[in-house]
């Protein structure tokens, strides 16, 4: 028996790591689009707090460490009471890396894997259980990285976690049978990240090699995330790369 049953646009979205950078930009964009948004991060920034003054009925935020599963689950239940049932999750929280593998301590390596892979999977499991128990359909967007597909020095563990999330995305899409759409968005290196670790000459060289002529900005990623959360596109289990073709 085959029935066409579309997944409705997201209405209440949980964004992990939503206090700064791309996460904050996603929260801001979704609020502007009229969605209810819940955001958490280890540290709540003044920018996130300011958004709650602008959108008092649409934004709920809290200080939660992604690695504290109990706190994360309590936050999810709190969000359901304040904003309503969560029908979309954006796994954005992650920590970076800038160290050669041979010089990365085993503890730091474990921390990267825990924060970027294990904890997001645990959060995803919990949110999915809440969605399914309520008979809801929904959407998951995992923010990964071009590092999952291309090799870069100094990012071994980080790349492994992002590749892991891309792989999980595909299996989730299969496992959830179209009831929950699961996709990844893989940005290239952000201009801000690159400028922090590279000199101007190196930056200019990378820009020259990028067909679109500019490095990725958070604003390039926002419409893609929004589309995956709101539109009926039949995109499921995919990794959408946003890097101006720098990696091809």
């Amino acid at each position: 028996m085959s029935e066409v049953s579309l997944v409705p646009p997201a209405s209440v979205v949980l964004v992990s790591g939503g206090s700064r950078g791309l996460g904050l930009a996603i929260v801001t964009d979704l609020l502007a689009a009229g969605l209810k948004v819940a955001a958490f991060a280890r540290t709540v920034t003044p920018e996130l707090a300011a958004l709650s003054e602008k959108y008092p009925d649409h934004l709920h935020f809290g200080s939660v460490d992604i690695n504290d599963a109990e706190a994360g689950q309590a936050f999810v239940k709190q969000v359901e009471q304040v904003l309503g049932p969560i029908d979309a999750l954006v796994n954005n929280a992650a920590i970076g890396q800038d160290s050669l593998h041979v010089h990365t301590s085993a503890d730091h390596l474990s921390e990267i894997i825990r924060t970027n892979l294990t904890s997001p999977l645990i959060l995803t499991r919990f949110v999915l259980r809440r969605m399914l128990a309520k008979g809801l359909k929904g959407r998951i967007v995992n923010i990964t990285s071009i590092c999952a597909q291309r090799g870069y020095p100094g990012l071994v563990a980080y790349s492994a976690t992002k590749g892991g999330m891309d792989a999980a995305t595909r299996s989730l899409a299969r496992e959830l049978g179209g009831r929950i759409l699961a996709n990844s968005v893989a940005p290239g290196f952000f201009a801000s990240e690159m400028s922090a670790v590279l000199g101007q000459t190196q930056l200019d060289q990378i820009v020259r090699r990028t067909p679109t002529g500019h490095l990725t900005e958070p604003e390039d990623v926002l419409p893609v995330v929004r589309m995956l959360l709101l539109e009926n596109t039949n995109i499921n289990g995919q990794v959408l790369v946003v890097d101006g073709a720098a990696s091809i």
């Binding site: 028996m1 259980r129 399914l132 128990a133 008979g135 959830l176 049978g177 009831r179």
Partner: protein, 102 residues
């Protein structure tokens, strides 16, 4: 609420206020019907009804298990091979019963 409480089987507590240890088979069947109704289908009264024929898929089983967990207050985790052996409505009820007693 009364309906929900009467579905519990209470072990070893003469006053009936003690540990709630399992969700009764009849209540599980009722919840299975709710899962199907929410999708515009109906649950046949016959326990030998084939799950494929009535359109009860593995995700529907997950939803049912989560609803049972909610009433049980405990997780019912299981591996996929166990799920693959389920073919009829009765199998679903047996499996949930087995999970609760494991």
């Amino acid at each position: 609420m009364v309906k929900r409480l009467t579905a519990w089987v209470v072990d070893g507590d003469p006053l009936g206020f003690g540990t709630m240890s399992s969700v009764a088979r009849g209540r599980v069947r009722e919840m299975m019907g709710e899962v199907m109704t929410a999708q515009g289908r109906s649950l046949p009264t016959d326990d030998t009804a084939d799950l494929r024929e009535i359109g009860f898929r593995s995700l529907d089983f997950s939803e049912l298990a989560l609803r049972v967990e909610d009433e049980l207050g405990d997780e019912l985790n299981f591996d996929a091979p166990g799920l693959r052996r389920i073919a009829t409505v009765g199998d679903v009820l047996d499996f949930i019963e087995h999970l609760q007693s494991a």
